[in-house]
Symmetry: C2
Subunit: 103 residues, 2 copies
DNA sequence: TAAGTATATCGCGATATAGCGATATAAGCA
DNA sequence: TGCTTATATCGCTATATCGCGATATACTTA
């Protein structure tokens, strides 16, 4: 069980709902879903993720930027390449739920 | 455990990813999240949900139409009123994941 | 230093979505 | 039959998002 700051609120206030909606919108894209799925297994570079999704590297970079912005991912440089990884601990559960429904 | 048609696929094909993304986009709205949350507890009319979200009834109706379209909800008439309810069995799990992260 | 590779950013046109007033439909009631 | 209430749809504007070519930055290697 991951650490929770408080005693599990109810997610009724608009601010939390807006935040949840924003993160869901970020996740709600076929290529980004695929990227998250891969990153839950291992770290990957921009180019590797781009190739797996059959998209241009600069598009993958953009998707990764968005997901980094909402706290899903972080990255670290290794020479020319940059490795991305999942840092949001709940992402694994959420993806599991989605896979259970759509997989 | 709900019935699954097949042996849990991997959600790697584009078609499934697109479908998952579309449903997530439908869910990714603060008022719709609130509505789903309420409907997981009980059935409600359009007007009740509109009031709970502080939005006009015709806006709630539109949100409900979208969620019905992607298979989350169904409705039944009772005189003038129409009661909506959740019919997608995985929605409960998905909301629980979201609440765990953002609540 | 110059050329090549990996990644990121910019700016644009196309498309999608949001929100809203106006209007429509349908049921209940005087 | 008219009047009211509940819900749904239409048409529009504003805003957001998408995908892409062009360009920029940073690192590597010759």
């Amino acid at each position: 069980m991951p650490i929770s700051k408080t005693k599990k609120k109810k997610l009724t206030d608009m601010k939390s709902l807006e935040q949840a909606a924003e993160c869901l919108r970020t996740l709600a894209h076929p290529h980004r879903l695929r990227i998250v799925q891969m990153l839950l297994q291992s770290e990957y570079t921009v180019g590797e993720l781009a190739e797996a999704c059959s998209i241009a590297p600069h598009m993958a970079s953009e998707h990764l930027r968005k997901m980094q912005h909402c706290g899903f991912l972080e990255s670290q440089k290794d020479g020319q390449r940059r490795y991305y990884r999942v840092v949001e601990p709940h992402l694994s559960n959420i993806l599991a739920c989605i896979e259970q429904r759509f997989g």
